[in-house]
């Protein structure tokens, strides 16, 4: 009986991965097609090999950047949901994106005269990641722990924080010189199309390290989903795991936001669709499934945008779908 059920579960996992894994190269191919032959067909022009390789030299880092950002968002969203015991909250919903924008604005504002130093994308990234880390630690300590893991408080705090930070950033941007203003815009209005490609080379090793560290702990996450107390009594040093996860989340979210900008609902969408189709509580398949689905959604979405000649940005589509899905989840689960 047990063996049969176990087998059925594994069959399901294998079947799902057999479908979604091959979709990934297919999506990449579609994206490349959308940027090359689809365009040339539409314009009625031949593509020369030189042109093709010049497009590829932009499309490949684009693909890498999109995949890295999407995978990071999926991994940290799932780990965030496990530590907050919520199926609906994700880091972007509690103001991580606005925090990024505010950090960038303050950096440009404060150092506009010295300049130079903070324009290096790497230094800039580490400063933003540091600020996000500090904020997430504070938020977690003071909001979640003092309210007994009440995610409603966290959500409300995030909402207020986003409002304050966005308006504060806007105010600072008004005070800036035009020059500085454009620099802030360039740093914060990143989208998939004008991706910060110099960051891609930072993103890949960071992605590798973060995903190895997260996947390595998949069994610990399984236990942590029983809650703080129960997992502590099963031998998980919860406080340590919590801090470690806050670091992963801050690093991952700041990198993803720096790469492709704010994508509030991608994590929610990927993680919950993965849960829905994998029907398991085990984190190993969930992490992989969510990561693949997240990358698929972003790349397929972007290909569709290219094919439709960029009528609407992919972030808008994903946020629209993700937002509707969130409503559905709240209504169905009747909790946050």
């Amino acid at each position: 009986m047990e063996i049969k059920v176990g087998k059925q579960r594994n069959v399901r996992l294998i079947a799902v991965f057999a479908v979604i894994l091959p979709l990934f190269p297919a999506a990449c191919a579609l994206y490349i097609y959308s940027r090359t032959y689809a365009k040339s067909l539409r314009l009625g022009l031949e593509i020369t090999p030189a042109e093709f390789s010049s497009i590829m030299s932009r499309a490949v880092p684009g693909l890498l950047g999109m995949s890295a950002a999407a995978i990071l968002i999926a991994l940290v969203s799932l780990s965030f949901q496990t530590i907050t015991q919520s199926r609906i909250l994700t880091p972007s919903m509690i103001g991580f994106d606005s925090l990024f924008i505010a950090t960038q604005t303050v950096l440009v504002f404060a150092f506009s005269t010295t300049g130079g130093l903070f324009e290096s994308p790497y230094i800039n990234y580490f400063i933003s990641a540091g600020v996000m880390l500090a904020c997430s630690m504070v938020m977690y300590r003071f909001i979640l722990q003092s309210s007994g893991n009440n995610v409603i408080y966290l959500l409300m705090f995030g909402l207020v924080l986003s409002g304050v930070l966005e308006n504060g950033s806007r105010y600072l941007q008004l005070l800036m010189s035009n020059n500085d203003y454009y620099r802030v815009q360039a740093a914060t209005n990143v989208t998939v199309n004008n991706m910060n490609t110099s960051l891609v080379f930072l993103a890949l090793p960071a992605l590798l390290i973060i995903s190895v560290l997260i996947l390595y702990r998949h069994r610990t996450y399984n236990v942590m989903s029983l809650g703080a107390e129960q997992s502590q009594s099963l031998g998980v040093f919860y406080a340590k795991e919590l801090n470690l996860n806050l670091i992963f989340i801050a690093l991952g979210m700041s990198l993803a936001t720096a790469l492709i900008g704010s994508l509030t609902f991608l994590g929610l969408l990927a993680v919950n669709v993965a849960r829905e189709i994998l029907k398991t509580h085990r984190h190993f398949p969930l992490f992989i499934g969510a990561a693949v689905l997240s990358a698929l959604a972003l790349i397929l979405g972007q290909s569709a945008v290219e094919l439709l000649q960029g009528a609407i940005p992919v972030t808008a589509i994903i946020n629209l779908v993700g937002c509707s899905y969130m409503f559905y989840l709240i209504l169905r689960e009747n909790r946050i």
């Binding site: 059920v5 199926r87 069994r219 129960q230 099963l234 031998g235």
Partner: protein, 259 residues
Amino acid sequence: MIEIKNVSQSYGRKEAKKTLSDINLTIRENKITALVGANGAGKSTLLGVLSNITPILSGTVTLGGRDVRKIKTQDVAKKIAFLKQSQQMSIRITVGDLVEFGRFPHCRGRLGQEDKRKVDESLEYMNLPDLRSRYLDELSGGQRQRAFIAMILAQDTPYIFLDEPLNNLDIKYSVEMMKIIQNLVTERNKTIVLVLHDINFAAAYANHIVAMKNGQIVREGCVKDVIKKEVLNTVFDHDFHIAECGGKNVCLYFDQVQN
């Protein structure tokens, strides 16, 4: 051996009212100790402190002579198993999965032969093999409670702390559960501390009773010492009537019973 000395605890800020004040307690080995007291007396908090889950303000908790805070969480979990008062799950898992979690301190989630054997044995012990592949949210409250106890058994620790293990159990299963707990002590040399709400279960099955009120231990001792009218009256702020039945004390606490 588990011993706590001068332990104080408080949930909010330091100045806030103490949930536990100056508690001293030695857990008796190979015995059943029952914690009793009114709602909010601090029983769950004390159990959490004993298992190094609830942080304390001052004092020490020692396990085998060493401060528990200095012992690795994983090693504490090999000695002490703790069941929370209420188990809300944010995930959907089967009884089998849950019981396998009990092996986590020993195998970090990588179940070997020995771990699988322990899981099977615990399911057997709690009479659950038929429900093994059922999801927890599809079980009755009592079946779920038994599944959690099976997880605790799979953890295979010398100390077992249960916060209201009779929650959701009907009379037959409550008695059965207490017999299982007794067997764990006699057959497997476990040391058990449990919070019981029904004072009569404590009177009938515990070897040692600790009565708490407002974060303090009001009285501790054997059944005869604690199940007394004047003790219970102060502990629960309620008028008790103690009857004798087959050589054991039985408490009656209904208003209708006149002394």
